[in-house]
């Protein structure tokens, strides 16, 4: 019933009048939460169903989101929000479970590595217990499995395995026959995340070739090298997926480039922004331009290296955002036309429709944004 406040225009208008807020359904949250936190309307709540240990520093959290959560595609991530010592914190995590699991029993899984001194990951490992609730966003991101079954190669490091687990299990369940190779780099034998799930996949799904490399095992340090790629048959015809620490991703991109894999066939999901030292000097003259916010019908001119997030805010819009530094992807949004330059990587985008992070994208000429 409450959700109708959001869906029916007339009710929503009335709610705004009566409760003085743009999300009127959330007015009753303080009372509803007392009855059951899952009833809250301000955010989508999810209950922690179980917590299992993967490795010394990684755990899998199985969550059951409220029924109005709309589901996800394999490889997508969510923004997770929780209160720590009174402060609301939001962090991004990939879904490591499959969409079919969610369709069957309504649960999803996050596999989370504890970052050294990490506030949220540390708290989740130390304090979160089954039965508690936290908030999840709708899923987003475009690190999806190939639409048509085609040969693929995954180069993955550490906790970067999370969205890949979802990919592999989804493809396996669909009985895909196209060859899939997974090169998985971990520090030591004990750092293999989801080792059982991987073993089951390797055993039951003939299309998968699984190779696990340990980079820090004494006497057996195997870092990614051209040698490893050499063993992948028909590599130049494969769709490639990279997910892991920056160093690994950079090296992998380099090696693939040298093997003539076109950039359009390489897909990355980044768990962190490229280190600041990589941030490039932007050529001020080529920056700026007319910015059109299509949904809100606003239009403005920008100059210099102002990010689209700043520009949108200056025009009176309040796009969703988090870190403002290219880490969390909460500001991701569709650019319908025009080119932007990524402030962190210095890369210039194509001029068609694509997903960009507002907070690190600087317009280079006229752009239209779906905001």
């Amino acid at each position: 019933m409450l959700a109708q406040f959001q869906t029916s225009n007339a009710l929503h208008w009335l709610g705004r009048q009566l409760f003085n807020r743009t999300d009127p359904a959330a007015f009753f949250d303080p009372l509803l939460e007392r009855i059951d936190p899952m009833l809250a309307q301000q955010t989508i709540r999810a209950r922690v169903v179980s917590i299992t240990t993967e490795t010394a520093d990684t755990r899998t959290f199985v969550l059951k989101p409220a029924s109005r959560w709309q589901g996800f595609r394999a490889g997508q991530h969510i923004a997770l929000t929780l209160d720590i010592n009174g402060v609301r914190r939001t962090r991004t995590f990939s879904l490591s479970s499959t969409p079919s699991q969610w369709q069957e029993n309504g649960t999803i899984a996050l596999t989370i590595k504890r970052i050294k001194d990490g506030l949220v990951t540390g708290w989740m490992h130390d304090c979160l217990t089954p039965g508690e609730t936290l908030s999840v966003s709708e899923a987003f991101g475009d690190f999806g499995i190939p639409e048509a079954a085609e040969p693929s190669l995954y180069i993955v490091g550490g906790s970067g395995i999370t969205p890949v687990l979802s990919h592999l299990e989804t493809m396996a369940a669909a009985g895909s026959h196209a060859p899939v190779t997974l090169l998985y780099y971990v520090r030591t034998r004990n750092d293999v995340i989801a080792s059982k799930r991987l073993a089951v996949l390797a055993e039951q799904w003939p299309a998968l070739t699984l190779s696990i490399f340990t980079t820090n095992e004494p006497g057996k340090a195997q870092r990614l090298s051209d040698q490893h790629l050499h063993q992948v048959p028909g590599i130049s015809a494969r769709r490639c997926y990279l997910c892991g620490p920056e160093g690994l991703m950079d090296l992998a991109s380099d090696l693939l480039d040298r093997r003539d894999v076109p950039e359009s066939r390489i897909h990355c999901t980044r768990f962190s922004a490229p280190p600041m030292k990589d941030a490039v000097e932007l050529d001020a003259d080529s920056l700026g331009g007319q910015v059109q916010f299509a949904k809100s019908g606003k239009q403005t001119d920008s100059r210099g290296d102002a990010s689209l997030l700043d520009i949108a805010e200056a025009s009176g819009l309040s796009p969703k955002h988090g870190c403002r530094m290219g880490i969390c992807h909460q500001c991701s949004c569709t650019k319908t036309s025009g080119t932007v330059i990524n402030r962190l990587t210095g890369k210039t985008s194509g001029n068609g429709e694509e997903t960009i992070q507002l907070c690190v994208s600087v317009p280079a000429g006229a752009v239209a944004i779906d905001l």
Partner: protein, 363 residues
């Protein structure tokens, strides 16, 4: 005003900053729980009041429902709205408690309030000519305003202002006195007026049209209850606010003495221009802790429920510099406010004879 040397002002700033830093370092779950508890109380009172109101044909129910709704408005305006809009809870990152987007249950729009109150009043506190909250451009409360015969009626004006306080506050930014003098034109105020009609209209629609209309057979009762609840909030909030700056010893300042002032001087002005009143925990809650107006004015963005905890320290700092810490029982403080309003309605010569204590020279 107490004169302090530049180095004393610096030291005063350091002392007060230290109190502030301590609280900031300690902000956390306790503060979050506190404000969420108050929000829950507000929701219970408002829902309870509105649900009971249609049964108000039973007199005790009418009384309970009206009191519940009145209290809910008071708590929402004073302890939640006012304080949230000061940014006291911004550190929580909760969009429902965000200073820039919060919209409260009163005729004055949040944006207008953030401009006139958070910026003008808190920056230029009690500077005659710059702080338009001083007397609300309606009342003569110091000798800086020249006496005119019209001031003889100002007590009646005060009664009107306190009765319709939410509308007075809502229209504050219209700057009626400057419009009348021709300093500004009505055209410049059109964006403001649009905002005012949108928000004021929304409030009137809710309390005076919608809720009576949906309870049609008992509409007059619901209307009467809603009017009374609004009146209750108007009277109480204006009284609390008047006690904050218009008591006997609350000082006023000139533009010259505050021009280009240091942070220390700003602190001094906040300390001497504000006044507290004492009371029970409930009085403090219902006043949004503006009963600790001094603490609020030196630290407007610290969670207000912290003011009682630091008031001892602030008082000690005042003592150290020989600054009068203006506090007293509610009745005493309010009494001096009424005297000030009545006193300054009279020509200065008459006033100084009748109430010699109100003889603060023109600032």
């Amino acid at each position: 005003m107490q004169r302090l040397t530049e180095s004393q002002l610096n030291e005063l700033q350091q002392d007060l900053d230290q109190i502030r830093d301590q609280v900031i370092a300690d902000l956390g779950e306790r503060d979050a729980n506190y404000i969420r508890r108050v929000v829950r109380l507000h929701r219970s009172l408002e829902v309870g009041g509105r649900v009971m109101m249609p049964f108000g044909f039973i007199p005790p129910v009418f009384l309970t429902a009206t009191t519940a709704l009145g209290l809910s408005k008071i708590i929402e305006n004073m302890e939640i709205g006012h304080n949230v809009m000061h940014g006291q809870y911004d550190w929580m990152n909760d969009p429902s408690l965000n200073s820039q987007t919060y919209e409260w249950d009163t005729a004055c729009g949040g944006d207008s309030w953030r401009r006139t109150h958070n910026y003008e009043h808190h920056t230029y506190t009690n500077i005659i000519g710059k702080d338009r909250d001083y007397g609300y451009a309606l009342l003569r409360l110091s000798e800086d305003d020249k006496w005119r015969p019209a001031h003889l009626l100002q007590f009646a004006n005060y009664v009107l202002l306190t009765t319709f306080f939410q509308w007075g506050v809502g229209l504050h930014e219209l700057e009626f006195e400057r419009l009348r003098k021709g300093d500004i034109t009505l055209k410049e105020k059109i964006p403001f007026l649009k905002e005012f009609f949108r928000k004021g209209g929304r409030q009137a629609f809710k309390d005076y049209i919608f809720f009576p209309a949906v309870t049609l057979p008992v509409a007059p009762i619901v209307l009467a209850g809603n009017v009374s609840a609004n009146l209750m909030r108007n009277l109480w909030s204006s009284t609390v606010i008047f006690c904050g700056h218009f008591t006997q010893d609350a000082e006023t300042f000139t533009e010259e003495e505050s021009d280009g002032e240091s942070k220390g001087h700003w602190y001094l002005r906040q300390l001497t221009g504000s006044s507290n009143f004492t009371g029970s925990r409930w009085v403090h809650l219902l006043s949004g802790h503006l009963s600790y107006q001094i603490e609020h004015h030196v630290f407007p963005d610290l969670p207000a429920h912290r003011y009682p905890e630091i008031s001892g320290q602030v008082e000690a700092v005042c003592k150290k510099y020989g600054i009068h810490y203006n506090t007293g029982r509610f009745a005493k403080q309010y009494g001096t406010v009424l005297k000030r309003i009545a006193g300054y309605s009279l020509p200065d010569r008459l006033r100084t004879r009748l109430w010699p204590e109100f003889s603060q020279p023109a600032a």
